[in-house]
């Protein structure tokens, strides 16, 4: 078996989701090649070579891969990937964007967001917002798979010494171009990799009140997330949404504040090790998944928490 893993990176360093994806590849077994496609991405290529368990790094360094445009990347991965038995990428918005194109170009199905490897051709994945776990088997010659990072412990970022090869395939579909990007810079840990996540919902009432959660998070070294309702209402930006259609998190501690616990929110956080819910409604469904529930007004409870932690 030979597995091609597509690295997620910012040209200099690897996104941690790459390490979880390599972990899934290691469970399948076989030679693992890591593809770094980007622009001036030698740094990310070097980081890839150090990842434990990787036997080869392919670097496609070209301006056409700068913004990971799906049309270009999807085609590149299909061309390189046709010689492999498996192609894996993290189930991030980048992976979800180009991988289905790769699968379609190779005329094979894709298995989205696997959470376990049962054998080289059999995997499990959540469906119906995580209320049903499906075991699926693929007889496709090339298995195209996206991997839910939280389901696989990351491999070590150091210790490997893979050979680095450069790839000179240039895929420029000329169909799309990058215009701009808007992201809120924060010194807090990445939501999907943080060991503690504090999330706020509609109960927070407005964006200013999220300051309380940032204070609490900074005391704990935590990341801050939100429910869809809080994002829709404009309290916080979209990248903070946790849930079925937002980010999937599974930290050691998840604190849900002013969040009711809709199916779609639970889908994104119910694999957290310890869940705390603070809600003034004792019947809120979030309490059904909480290890520790506090029925209280969050505007009383959160300031006290900040003080006592």
């Amino acid at each position: 078996m030979s597995i091609l893993v597509i690295a997620e990176h910012d040209n200099q360093s690897l996104n941690s989701a790459t390490l979880n994806t390599v972990a899934a590849a290691s469970q399948i077994g076989g030679d693992i090649a890591l593809l770094v496609a980007g622009n001036n991405c030698a740094g990310a290529g070097e980081a890839a070579a150090a990842v434990a368990g990787v036997s080869k790094v392919l670097v496609a360094d070209n301006a056409v891969y700068e913004h990971q445009l799906a049309e270009n990347l999807g085609q590149l991965v299909a061309e390189i990937g046709k010689d492999y038995s498996h192609i894996l990428s993290p189930a991030t918005t980048t992976g979800k964007n180009f991988m289905p194109r790769t699968a379609a170009l190779l005329d094979v199905d894709q298995l989205s967001e696997i959470i376990s490897v049962e054998s080289e051709d059999t995997f499990t994945r959540p469906v119906y917002a995580g209320n049903v776990i499906a075991t699926v088997q693929s007889a496709d010659a090339i298995k195209v798979i996206t991997v839910r990072g939280t389901a696989f412990d990351p491999v070590a970022a150091e210790g490997g010494s893979a050979a680095v090869e450069s790839v000179d395939i240039v895929c420029d579909a000329g169909l799309s171009s990058f215009v701009s990007e808007e992201s809120v810079k924060s010194d807090r840990p990445d939501l999907t990799a943080a060991s503690i996540v504090i999330s706020g919902g509609r109960g927070m009432q407005n964006g200013e009140n999220f300051e309380m959660l940032y204070q609490l998070a900074d005391k704990l070294g935590a990341a801050v997330g939100a429910s869809r309702a809080a994002v829709d209402a404009g309290f916080v930006p979209n990248e903070m949404q946790v849930g079925q259609t937002g980010k999937i998190v599974a930290p050691d501690l998840y604190v849900a504040i002013g969040i009711s616990g809709a199916i779609q929110h639970l889908a994104g956080m119910k694999d957290s090790k310890v869940i705390v819910a603070i809600n003034k409604d004792e019947d809120a469904p979030i309490f059904q998944v909480a290890d520790y529930g506090l029925v209280a007004d969050l505007f009383d409870a959160v300031p006290q928490l900040i003080e006592q932690i």
């Binding site: 913004h67 799906a70 999807g74 979800k96 964007n97 991988m99 289905p100 194109r101 790769t102 699968a103 379609a104 170009l105 094979v108 199905d109 894709q110 298995l111 989205s112 059999t122 994945r125 959540p126 469906v127 119906y128 917002a129 209320n131 049903v132 776990i133 499906a134 075991t135 699926v136 088997q137 693929s138 007889a139 169909l175 799309s176 171009s177 990058f178 215009v179 990007e181 808007e182 992201s183 999907t192 869809r228 829709d232 079925q244 259609t245 501690l253 199916i263 119910k270 310890v274 869940i275 705390v276 998944v289 290890d291 520790y292 529930g293 506090l294 029925v295 006290q304 928490l305 932690i309």
Partner: protein, 249 residues
């Protein structure tokens, strides 16, 4: 400009689906069905384009058995002009759906195809991207804003790091994210009118598409259950538990 919108019939988003006890599939007996929420957003966007004079015709297409005509009628009630059902039995994989949609795309030659970003039953998030690849056109996946400029479209996309804006040549595929718009409710007169709008039925053989898949559902199971938790009375008690019992802070 013609706009094609793909709509899927799925379990209503309020239903907590459980596996059948024999593990053969999800238990969908007597559950409420609805249009996939992301498809509803896709329809709304297409209808708004028509209202703005950007789109000339909105065609709603669904792949499924006869029951999916109900969701096509919903799209028609929201303002789509006509419907197409592609007959299919059972659950098809996204690649097969994308191939069928590609055949409809070839037939109708729309400038824009809008799909939902994800179906809330299979949680695949694949069909739009696959369709774009098969058609050899560009894609704006997870869109939260569209802006037309001549023969291209600017798409703002919800990505893990925030928002990204791309310019994509038309024809193109767009997949709708949650914040693209807030869908309207269909009014009673519009629901009545929708019954009279044209709805064509095609089948995969007419379209020359092979829908067999090499992916097999082996079984389904419920997710791991969480142990019941406790209610603490005070913030102090909570902090104590987190420090001394759970040892997570």
């Amino acid at each position: 400009m013609k706009v094609l919108v793909a709509v899927k019939r799925v379990v209503d988003y309020n239903v907590k689906v459980r596996p059948k006890s024999d593990g053969s599939g999800a238990d969908l007996a007597n559950v409420k069905m609805a249009i996939n929420p992301f498809c509803e957003i896709a329809v709304e966007e297409a209808v708004r384009l028509k209202e703005k004079g950007v789109a000339t015709e909105v065609i709603a297409v669904s792949v499924g058995d006869k029951s999916c005509q109900e969701q096509i009628r919903t799209a028609l009630a929201l303002g789509a002009d006509r419907g197409i059902q592609v007959e299919a039995e059972g659950d098809l994989q996204p690649l097969a759906i994308a191939k069928l949609l590609k055949a409809v795309y070839d037939k109708e030659q729309p400038q824009l195809v809008i799909l939902g970003k994800q179906s809330i039953d299979g949680d695949n998030n694949q069909t739009g991207q696959m369709l774009a690849a098969l058609a050899g056109i560009g894609q704006g996946a997870f869109a939260s804003e569209l802006e037309f400029e001549g023969d291209s479209i600017k798409v703002t996309r919800e990505v893990d790091t925030g928002l990204q804006t791309l310019e994509i040549k038309l024809p193109a595929v767009v997949t709708a994210d949650l914040r693209l718009n807030e869908p309207r409710y269909a009014s009673l007169p519009n629901i009545m009118k929708a019954k009279k709008k044209p709805l064509d039925v095609l089948n995969p053989a007419d379209l020359g598409v092979e829908t067999a898949s090499k992916v097999k559902l082996v079984k389904v199971a419920p997710p791991a259950e969480r142990q019941a938790g406790i209610i603490v009375e005070t913030v102090e008690a909570l902090v104590d538990k987190l420090k001394n019992e759970a040892k997570v802070i």
